[in-house]
Symmetry: C2
Amino acid sequence: MFDIIREIGAITREIQIKSNAEFRKQDLGNNAFLYVIRVNEKPGMFLGELADSVQIDRTTAFRTVKKLVAKGYLELKDDEADRRMKKVYATSKGQEIYPELHAFEVQQSAALLSNLTSAEQEQLKQLLQKMQTK
Amino acid sequence: MFDIIREIGAITREIQIKSNAEFRKQDLGNNAFLYVIRVNEKPGMFLGELADSVQIDRTTAFRTVKKLVAKGYLELKDDEADRRMKKVYATSKGQEIYPELHAFEVQQSAALLSNLTSAEQEQLKQLLQKMQTK
DNA sequence: ATCTTTTAATTGTAAATGCAATTAAAAGAT
DNA sequence: ATCTTTTAATTGCATTTACAATTAAAAGAT
């Protein structure tokens, strides 16, 4: 059964390569697009939380966010209560691009699942979710 | 249904992080362990073929193989027929470590699938395979 | 109230990464 | 037989990455 993890890995890498190629032109390659998506969906995460959500090393995430701030997609605000923390928000530029980013994700997903019936898709989703319960 | 690709991505990244942490001590981090596994399973691939098989940029793959040759895990042989190509083989050191690498993969896979019955595991495998048919 | 431990962000640095360009051999066309 | 196109390997270079260490604030202990 170990081949399951290889298949899953292969699928992920393929999508990742495609997505980065797609978004490089907007300066959102190197998985930067992921951050913009997540921040739009959950504004106000602090840096570490965001890093965990995209499952990337915190120092890398920190530098990527810094770049995205410089490029005008994201902004940081100091937390009032805890002054160690900085919370991340999407700028209007960051918000405007979200539909496009998400649309691509939806389209990739559809392409990926195109060989499955909708019942099978539902089944797959259930299985993946069940797998994840820790 | 787009959330399926996020779940798949999350699983992959988690496994990747764990595997690299596990194999860094043998100098097989940065996905280098993947190359050793693949070459053991299919000796004599040429460089580009190996790069495709691990789905990594060819130039990166080239450099990683070079390092693995320097570390004594792999070796390169010129192709007789086509002198542009170099074929990749595992050295005895590379062969000796294969069981350990593969065992870890099997173990990770088992952990990942531990919440599923064997019937569900089979089902998942079928679905993933069906998905991949292009 | 001070000391210790934990947690978040940040920086230093060396190594890894990947796009673009180059070299070299083979295959195909004229 | 020479010219063009394709394919594999390789290098140049700027960027990205991540481990280790540092700084700074908060939380917990005495």
